[in-house]
């Protein structure tokens, strides 16, 4: 997914998994799957314990937001606690 800077004429020589087409296919496929799963909430009754669970696609939204929050919090945490690799050896 991070090879976008490479020249397009070399695409065909790349392994299948690294080709732009494959990567895009996986991404749009995943997005489609998420849409289906999110919309599915409108068509069945979820067995819930807490009231807020009934909100459509709540699990999906929570999963997405949590993931982004964890990653950004990690980036912030780096500023606080990241040191050189040989910090303890020096």
């Amino acid at each position: 997914m991070s090879d976008s800077h490479e020249r397009p004429e070399r695409e065909a020589h790349k392994p299948w998994l690294y080709r732009r087409g494959t990567i895009n296919g996986v991404f749009w496929g995943l997005l489609g799957l998420c849409l289906v799963l999110g919309l599915a909430d409108l068509f069945y009754h979820r067995h819930t314990v807490f009231g807020f669970e009934a909100f459509p696609a709540i699990y999906g939204i929570f999963g997405f937001v949590s993931f982004v929050f964890i990653v950004f919090a990690g980036i912030g945490l780096r500023k606080l606690i990241m040191r050189d690799e040989d910090y303890y050896d020096g």
Partner: protein, 562 residues
């Protein structure tokens, strides 16, 4: 058959290993967990192996559903771990691994606190050799730190046991519950081994520094022994719910930015044990079943993940995410096994993590612990981030590092195939595992609500990852050391001691200087009076002495007549 603890087979057998050589040694090592399993299946429920010492009765084999399921999974782990290490010919590890596993099994079957203590300490002493076996200066010092903390846990346990026995007059290891100092000490001892928050960093410090096989072995026993001990002694202690959720939540942030992939898995281990601790805190039969089931499947998929990373380390000599990538072409089978482990730990439906974690989440929800439940669902997204995606993605995919190597050795692949198979089999057919759990229950993990909610959570989180990577916002892997609480004793305390020594020596110098000054003045005084030129040291002529004596006598006579 005699009802003795299966742990003894592994301990005694492990100590005999140096006497056996060549192929026979390998057969013998594989036979030990199998013999242990035969012994375990032959055990009858009840208390066995009782020995009276002074006023107390030690119980070496307390057999019930809780001890049996932990004994069984420890033996299973010991079996495939042995296969995983067959390519190595290192007697130190070959002895340490079965003795360590046997000690953990011995502790699980211990019916009293003193027997528990004996095996508790034996796990500490035997396991450190799996770290030292790496034979680097770093591993040596890590091992010493690990040993101090592990043995420290045992010492605190012993103090708790003495107070507890003194108060209750019993050493039986049953429910303890939080009440007095004794119960707190025992909880802290368990908490150190379970890696409670702030008592946790020995785990991330030590496990990634052990040998390829050693880390796999270590990951199975110590923390799960603590989970067993907590389930036995502190079920329903509400505080543990909150300890557990903190354990699930905070390691995910450290795992995101950690570069050493085995250390990422160590953080993930912390997070997973948090789910179990929270379940134990809830304490209902569903929650305890959840904690035990989670421990069972966790040992399997965590071993699998550590094995796949161990195979990478074994083949390419590094496990740093910043140096890896693209290995799926060199190690496709290992990559598939790793993905199976990753899917299991992320609790994808049809994988083992799903059928275990559902129990705990249902129990927490039914208990009405809404905050705890939200944190656990959040932490589930966190597990997916570091164990579900980061581990397989950065090792086997991501950018091509250019590293090319052979597929993992055959014994490693066979060892990985066993847990990989179990991850899927238990995920699809949870019934047999549910039947082994300590409490009877009627639970159906595969309902439309469960499956769709979980899939939504996971796939949207993966989508978040894809979006972040495509937009370049996902943080790069950077070679680094990330500070943790071990900074306190690795940098903070040594610096404090150095400062105190420096400050102390200033004070000491000052005090010495003053003392010296006074001493010198005193010596000078003495010298003035008693020195060669002093009044007391003057030589007197005989004449003047006689004169002085006469004067004195005269004064005496005068005084007499007066």
């Amino acid at each position: 058959m005699a009802n003795f603890s299966p742990g003894l087979i592994l301990i005694v057998g492990g100590l005999l290993i140096p006497l056996i050589h060549g192929r026979a040694r390998q057969v013998f090592m594989l036979a030990l967990p199998l013999l242990g399993a035969i012994q375990l299946f032959g055990l009858e429920h009840g208390l066995h192996g009782q020995v009276a010492i002074f006023d107390y009765t030690l119980t070496f084999a307390r057999v019930d559903k809780l001890s049996l399921i932990f004994g069984a999974i420890f033996l299973l782990a010991s079996f495939y771990n042995t296969i995983y290490g067959l390519h190595e010919n290192d007697t130190m590890q070959q002895v340490a691994a079965p003795v360590y596993a046997g000690a953990a099994i011995g502790a699980v079957f211990a019916g009293d606190l003193i027997t528990l203590f004996i095996f508790w300490e034996l796990t500490a002493i035997s396991s450190v050799f799996l770290i030292w076996a790496r034979r680097t200066a770093k591993a040596t010092s890590v091992g010493i730190r690990y040993l101090i903390i592990q043995v420290g846990s045992g010492v605190i346990l012993l103090a708790g046991i003495i107070l507890y026995a003194n108060k209750t007059g019993s050493i039986a290891f049953d429910r303890i519950g939080l009440s007095d100092l004794a119960s707190w000490l025992i909880l802290i001892a368990f908490g150190i081994k379970a890696a409670f928050p702030f008592l946790h960093n020995w785990l991330q410090d030590a496990y990634p520094e052990a040998t390829v096989t050693g880390t796999v072995v270590l990951s199975a026993f110590t923390t799960k022994l603590a989970v067993y001990a907590l389930a036995r002694g502190y079920a329903g202690t509400e505080m543990l719910i909150y300890v557990g959720i903190v354990m699930t939540a905070f390691p995910v942030f450290f795992a995101v930015i950690e570069n050493d992939l085995r250390r990422v898995l160590a953080f993930s281990l912390n997070n997973q044990v948090g789910f179990m601790v929270a379940g134990i805190g809830v304490g209902t039969s569903l929650a305890l079943n959840g904690a035990v089931a989670h421990a069972f499947v966790h040992i399997i998929y965590k071993s699998l993940l550590f094995m796949s990373m161990g195979a990478v380390l074994h083949r390419v000599g590094t496990i740093k995410a910043s140096e890896l990538g693209g290995l799926y072409r060199s190690m496709p089978v290992t990559a598939v096994f790793c993905i199976i482990g990753a899917a299991s730990i992320s609790a994808f439906p049809l994988f083992s993590g799903f059928i275990a974690k559902s129990l705990t989440l249902s129990a927490v929800a039914e208990g009405g612990y809404v905050v705890a439940w939200i944190v656990l669902v959040f932490a589930s997204a966190g597990v997916l981030e570091h164990s579900g995606i980061k581990i397989p993605y950065f090792a086997f995919f991501a950018h091509d590092s250019g590293l090319r190597c052979k597929e993992a050795p055959a014994n490693m692949l066979i060892a990985m195939a066993i847990p990989a198979f179990l991850c899927i089999a238990i995920g699809i057919f949870p019934g047999p595992l549910y039947a082994l759990l300590p409490f009877p229950m009627d639970y159906q993990p595969y309902t439309a609500s469960h499956v769709l909610s979980q899939l939504q959570l996971l796939l949207f989180a993966i989508l978040a990852f894809a979006v972040l990577v495509r937009s370049g916002l996902y943080p790069k892997e950077i070679p680094s050391t990330n500070l943790n609480t071990d900074w306190i004793y690795r940098k903070g305390l040594p610096a404090l001691v150095r400062w105190l020594m420096a400050a102390g020596s200033t004070i000491r110098r000052g005090a010495l200087f003053r003392a010296e000054f006074r001493l010198e003045r005193f010596i000078a005084q003495v010298y003035r009076h008693h020195g060669p030129a002093g009044i007391m040291a003057r030589t007197w002529s005989t004449g003047s002495t006689v004169l002085w004596v006469a004067v004195l006598l005269g004064v005496y006579l005068l005084a007499y007549f007066l």
